[in-house]
Amino acid sequence: MNVMTLLKKAVLLVALPVVLLGVWWVTTANSTDPYVPPLREVFETFPDTWTADRLMNDMVPSIVRLLVGYAVAVLLGVALGVAVGSSRTLRNILEPVLEFFRAIPPPVLIPIVILFAGIGHTMKVIVIVSGCIWPVLLNTVEGVRAVDDVLRDTSRCYGIGGTSRLRYLTLRSASPQILAGMRQALSLAIILMVISEMFAASNGLGFTVVQFQRSFAIPEMYTGIIVLGLVGIALSLLFGLLERRALAWYFGLRRSQRGE
């Protein structure tokens, strides 16, 4: 790849974002609208708003709650999904129930969980778990169900059973589906984290941004929105890395199938 191609790629990558940012900057430069401060002002407020203190007291708890809730949802979802997916009877029995629970818009569970768990850390983690478990569970069920018959027979012939079968066959075979579910769950986790904090909290990213809004600290509010956006982007990138590693074989397989 020579310098020209590299340069061209770099330009294409940043051209539009830079233009959009520029437009935003210029159109708001002399704004007197209280709700739309100049972008310059927003940037200037950044270091004062997002001090180490705030990062420790708001961002860290939010992220921790998010990751804990997400991890629990994934573990539970995969475990239950494998159990349900492996038995046709269980699948048939549980399918309507699971589909109903999945159809409930997750944030609606927040008032319910508040009844049980108050408004502290636990509530938020439980909310994230109860919302994120569904995409993981249902996708795992689907992935486990669709394990190739020939591969299954091969495993039986060579005496690969029990935990080995789970490890080498079932989970690996279902991993594209599981990861798709995990991706959906990640977006959902972020949404639930923010909403649960906006609804009832004493700290956290969502709480902070709402506080800014309520106290009309507008430029600060914008910085909060930008930070939330950055968190979303960062998590998505991390997930993408994980996905590429775990599913390298799958992407290769699909490419070769399409090529034939």
Binding site: P96, V97, Q184, S187
Partner: protein, 260 residues
């Protein structure tokens, strides 16, 4: 074959019945306090009570209105933008980084901003719904346009199809399944966002009713409304899938759902 379908339905009903029994017994037996989880029969009674209240139907209509308008706008914008961007390679490379960047930003981060500008009017809900649903549609349409078989495209060229004919006979049939998938995903996301925004901001609709019920301690009513949103979600799902089946009845089912 008919027998096994019947059996499947029967097993599903068993699951639902078991759920009902559990929900009824848990609070009655005292394992869970009735304050937090009223027995299922109480929930149903509250539900029927709600069905008799004009306020309920107004709220339901508001939600459906916001959902429908938001979804329609998202579809129109998403499909047209997607078709245009997808068909012009330069546009596609220019926008791809921006799209990847903006996609993971949680729509709910915009809630404070939207509250400032629109308060609790329906526009608040609409902005969020359109923003979130648009991505689902756009991504799918972009994949769809990309998926056109190069051989088909070359064939059309060699027969000197006019641009409109190319769109009609080549691009549209390939993109249609993806558009339908995007529609399905967008419909679900739109519903979630509608209820969420109503819940958090208090714009008119079911979400607001749930928040009010929770803060005023009307637990039965709250659960009843949650059940309604669940049914709404299931209904949306069923309708959209039925529409998908009818529109794509002619299409060989060789499209893979691309995880959004």
């Amino acid at each position: 074959m008919r027998n096994s379908r019947l059996a499947k339905w029967g097993q599903g009903l068993i699951g639902l019945a078991a759920l009902v029994v559990v929900l009824e017994m848990l609070p009655r037996v005292g394992l869970v306090s009735e304050r937090y989880l009223p027995p299922f029969s109480t929930m149903i009674r509250a539900l029927f009570e709600e069905l008799g209240q004009p306020d309920f139907w107004t709220a339901l209509l508001e939600s459906v209105k916001a959902w429908g308008i938001g979804l329609a706008i998202a579809m129109v914008l998403g499909v047209s933008l997607g078709l245009v961007i997808g068909s012009v390679p330069l546009l596609r490379s220019l926008t791809s980084s921006t799209i990847e960047f903006l996609r993971p930003i949680p729509s709910v981060a915009l809630i404070p901003l939207v509250v400032l500008v629109f308060g609790t009017r329906i526009q608040s809900t609409l902005v969020l719904v359109v923003y979130a649903a648009l991505w689902q549609v756009l991504i799918q349409v972009l994949y769809g346009v990309q998926d056109v078989d190069p051989v088909v495209r070359e064939t059309a060229r060699s027969f000197r199809f006019r641009p409109m004919s190319v769109v009609r006979h080549v691009v549209w049939p390939t993109a249609l399944p993806y558009i339908m998938t995007g529609f399905r995903l967008a419909a679900t996301v739109a519903l979630v966002l509608t209820i969420t925004v109503e819940l958090v901001i208090g714009s008119p609709g079911l979400g607001k009713e749930i928040a009010v019920a929770q803060s005023s301690g009307a637990v039965d009513k709250m659960y009843a409304l949650v059940i309604v949103t669940g049914f709404l979600g299931v209904l949306v799902n069923v309708l959209v899938r039925a529409l998908e089946r009818r529109t794509l009845a002619w299409h060989p089912s060789q499209r893979a759902e691309v995880p959004a």
